[in-house]
């Protein structure tokens, strides 16, 4: 148990308020989940203090207990979870001791809650208006049918839905993710609560949408003086949005204090690790370095002892690159050196329209690019931009509507099925979802050996040897070979997926959001691995991602996709330092932490 009293949060600039008692004061909070045999401690003796009107971010990886902490404040713990020790003082009242009925009065009215995934947090069978009105009625914001309706419309309008009146009668599935999150934010703030708990409110959304939503949240809470507890896994986002930061690790607070100070001077080795591995911050550091600005931030981070920071993402990005990579003109002249050439690639789907009509939908629209051997090209775009469809067409998982794909100088459209089959040895994918990309019923050895079996490579013994070799290459113990995927963590599964992709010694690896689902530390580890493998095996990568921050550290060239088209393609440094298109600028701007002024 900690003896120190952390986070005595006196916000600079709110001197007038500093005499006021804290709005939320958590002391020694412990939350346990009981299973059949024993209990698991998810939150282990947390202390924190929040002043009225202040924003506090709780940062941690998955499993750190940050969401459990957020849920425990208004006792929304799932399943067998229960508070076993400590107190939660809210406005002078201990929330751990009051009755469920009293808590009902506080929920919504005094404490608003914005959940993580907008897609699953609205009831699909009731209209949006119904759900907002219900919230308004329950919290006594308005009385009477007409008044409630008027208030509900006002709530939606405030949340940024312009045609709120018409939208009231629509159902959640007719709303986009961003709009649903606006509705949820609107409902949470409808009673002007004193405190808003936002549990990863934007991690399910595209970066540009994320930005607008957070801006809305900021302005709404600032106007009403609502205090905010923001739960996030993204250090950059936390620092940008909150003045106070709490870093959680294994159910405990490891570091707490003013955001910028923690970023500049992380003291706990875990925080140092996080700072070093956060792609958004690494990008900032790179940008700062590129501009020749002597950042006060860079030096202490780089000086982090090797034991603390497993690796520094910025170091990966600073590696020496193939000369040709930086020169697009040369690339186009030396066609023979291109591993992949894509020309006029188009994919049109026919989707069901009203009644029985089908409507053509162009997912990929005349896309052309080439990737030089041994380099990494990033294809960046938001959801629905068509980037994954490009990957599927390259891998032969989708037919082209028109255009051509050349792999190693051979036009895939002209190959026989046999030749296509052989071509698969040259190009392998790694997919996004580490939980979906391995067959849960086959052990690791069978999974990695499947490409070898399919292409009848070597004898059984030789294949086993190759599997071990691959496990060594991706730094997994050989003993894992007889294990099943659900015994492994997300990062380990992704390593297995990489091993499977490398089994046939391909020249090209297509990484479709391969690190997007991973925690930052694991993500950094996998990026490091990919980088090492590329150097060692001179691989060509097509790196498909929505996350520009990661692009900065891994790619030589970038193509930005929007609505099926490539809107901008250039070298990574060009795109980051001198973006030509408005859309690219918006994407860059939306990287969480992009607005943090590092060089103070």
């Amino acid at each position: 148990m900690s003896i120190a009293t952390p986070t005595s949060a006196v916000t600079p600039g709110s001197g007038a308020r500093s005499a006021i008692t804290p709005l939320l004061e958590i002391r020694g909070l412990k939350v346990e989940f009981s299973t059949q045999r024993d209990s698991v401690t998810a939150v282990d003796g947390i202390d924190l203090t929040l002043m009225p009107g202040q924003t506090l971010a709780i940062v941690g990886e998955s499993g750190s207990g940050k969401s459990t902490l957020a849920h425990s404040i208004i006792n929304l713990l799932p399943g067998t979870g229960a508070i076993t020790a400590g107190s939660i003082l809210f406005d002078g009242q201990d929330l751990t001791t009051i009755s469920e009925k009293e808590l009902q009065g506080i929920r919504g009215r005094d404490i608003g809650f914005v959940p993580q995934d907008p897609m699953s947090n609205l009831n699909p069978v009731w209209s949006v208006g119904f759900q907002v009105e219900e919230s308004v009625r329950a919290n006594g914001v308005a009385v009477g049918r007409k008044e409630i309706r008027a208030k509900a419309i006002e709530v939606l309008r405030k949340a940024g839905l312009d045609d709120a009146d018409a939208r009231m009668r629509q159902f959640p599935h007719q709303f986009s993710g961003g709009m649903r999150q606006r509705v949820l934010i609107g409902m949470a703030l409808s009673a002007s609560p004193k405190l808003l708990i936002a549990d990863e409110p934007t991690s399910a959304l595209d970066v540009t949408v994320q930005r607008t939503i957070l801006d809305y949240l900021d302005s709404l809470t600032r106007d009403s003086g609502t205090a905010v507890v923001l739960i996030t896994h993204d250090l950059g986002l936390a620092a940008e949005r909150a003045e106070q930061l709490v870093v959680m690790y294994r159910g405990k607070v490891v570091e707490a204090g003013p955001s910028l100070e923690i970023l500049r001077n992380p003291l706990h080795p875990y925080t140092q690790r996080l700072v070093a591995a956060a792609p958004s911050l690494a990008s900032r550091r790179l940008t700062a370095a590129a501009k020749g600005v002597e950042s006060t931030l860079t030096s202490p981070v780089v000086a982090v002892p090797a034991t603390a920071a497993a690796f520094d993402l910025a170091a990966i990005a600073d590696r020496p690159r193939a000369g040709i990579a930086e020169n697009t003109a040369l690339q186009n002249n030396a066609l023979a050196d291109n591993a992949i050439v894509v020309d006029g690639l188009t994919k049109v789907y026919s989707i069901r329209g009203r009644g029985f009509k089908t409507v053509p939908f162009t997912a990929v629209d005349n896309v052309s690019f080439s990737i030089a051997r041994g380099t990494t090209m990033a294809l960046v775009g938001e959801s629905g931009s068509g980037k994954s469809t490009v990957a599927k067409m390259l891998l032969g998982l989708e037919k082209l509507t028109s255009g051509r794909i050349e792999i190693d100088g051979a036009d895939t459209g002209e190959l026989s099925p046999k030749e296509l089959f052989n071509l698969r040895r040259r190009m392998q994918p790694v997919f996004q979802d580490p939980y979906g990309s391995l067959d849960p019923l086959r052990n690791i050895e069978n999974t990695i050996a499947e490409p070898l079996d399919t292409h009848r490579v070597g004898t059984k013994a030789e294949r086993r040897k190759r599997v071990y070799e691959l496990l060594d290459q991706v730094s997994l113990p050989r003993a894992i070979a007889t294990r099943y995927p659900n015994e492994l963590s997300g990062g380990q599964r992704q390593r297995v997926a990489v091993a499977r992709a490398l089994a046939l010694k391909p020249a090209i690896v297509i990484l479709d959001e391969a690190v997007s689902a991973l925690d930052v530390l694991v993500q950094a580890q996998i990026l490091q691995l990919l980088h090492e493998l590329q150097t060692e095996l001179s691989l060509t990568y097509l790196f498909i991602t929505h996350d520009l921050a990661v692009v900065r550290v891994i790619a030589d060239n970038v193509a930005v996709m929007n609505k099926g088209r490539i809107v901008e393609a250039a070298t990574t440094s060009e795109v980051f330092e001198n973006p030509k298109q408005e859309y690219t600028k918006r994407l860059l701007d939306a990287i969480p932490g992009a607005n943090i002024r590092l060089g103070a």
């Binding site: 849920h71 929920r107 009831n123 069978v125 009731w126 919290n139 159902f171 009673a191 009203r354």
Partner: protein, 309 residues
């Protein structure tokens, strides 16, 4: 919504022709004289046989026979029974009784099934839930005729609370016991399904969000959990209707209720093939219609269907 209904209707057309064809095929593609075969060991009733040969146009090619027969169905002509009475006439006189019985059974099923299932789901793992589980598993394993016999024996004969068999006019009050019997098997299924559905819905994110809005638990159960949990239960009702029809045949037979089921029951027992086929055809058509209606109900309950995804 309109597109959805139209699609469902269009899908029902091949199914209608398919099922009637299948039944027709089963009966008339037999080796030997199908009409004679229909009478089984019963001995051929020549008058009915002649009538059947005319009705099914047995001198025509098979496919023509089928379409003539389908044409009859569309005009409400389901053939004649063994005693020479038109099936449609028998239907008209017996249907109201069966409707009464089915109403009692369906009402019990819905009210008991959903209420018990809901409580069970909300109190998962508690005593009420585990005892409900055991009872419903036993009910599911009990064949309906065993339940009917035991009810008749214990309540009708030993206790003498009700008449063991129903009188000719089949008044509502005498149909209560057979209604309970008819409902038992399906009620167990509905309890299980509602329970599963409630447990699943209760774990959904939107339920937690509803709590976070400050709604009372009562409202969350009524408005959010129950409504969403009913969607799979409604789809089950369509499937269940088939079980109900078979159950009605057995129940009406045992309690001697003068409904459609008993007519079919007696025809089966007596081996009156032609009557059996006619009544099965009628039941299948009713079943198809009920399935269509359930699809509409489903659309009414789930806006994602209503507005087409």
């Amino acid at each position: 919504m309109f597109g959805y209904i139209l699609r469902r209707l269009l899908q029902a057309i091949p199914v209608f022709f398919g099922t009637t064809f299948l039944i027709y095929f089963m009966v008339f593609a037999m080796p030997g004289d199908p009409v004679v075969a229909l009478f089984g060991q019963h001995g051929v009733n020549e008058a009915v046989a002649a009538q059947l040969r005319a009705q099914y146009h047995l001198d025509q090619p098979f496919i023509i026979q089928y379409f003539i027969y389908i044409g009859g169905i569309f005009r409400g002509d389901f053939g004649v029974s063994f005693s020479g009475q038109p099936v449609s006439e028998i239907l008209l006189s017996t249907f109201p009784v069966t409707l009464r019985l089915a109403t009692i059974a369906l009402f019990l099923e819905m009210v008991l099934g959903i209420t018990i299932g809901l409580i069970s789901g909300l109190r998962k793992g508690k005593l009420f839930d585990s005892s409900t589980l055991v009872v419903s598993l036993i009910l599911i394993s009990l064949p309906i005729f065993v339940i009917a016999f035991v009810a008749q024996l214990v309540i009708g004969i030993n206790l003498g609370w009700v008449r063991p068999t129903v009188s000719g006019t089949a008044p509502w009050n005498e149909l209560i016991l057979p209604g309970i019997v008819l409902a038992t098997v399906s009620v167990a299924y509905i309890i299980r399904l509602t329970r599963e559905s409630v447990i699943e819905t209760r774990g959904q994110d939107f339920v937690r969000t509803a709590y976070s809005k400050g709604l009372t638990s009562g409202r969350i159960v009524r408005v959010h959990i129950l409504r969403n949990s009913l969607i799979p239960v409604v789809t089950f009702l369509a499937v269940d209707f088939g079980v109900l029809m078979v159950g009605a045949t057995v129940t009406e037979g045992i309690f001697n209720i003068p409904g459609v089921g008993r007519t079919l029951y007696q025809a089966i027992i007596r081996g009156e093939g032609p009557t059996v086929v006619s009544f099965v055809t009628v039941m299948v058509i009713i079943y198809l219609v009920v399935n269509l209606l359930t699809d509409l109900l489903y659309a009414a309950l789930d806006p994602r269907i209503r507005y087409g995804k």
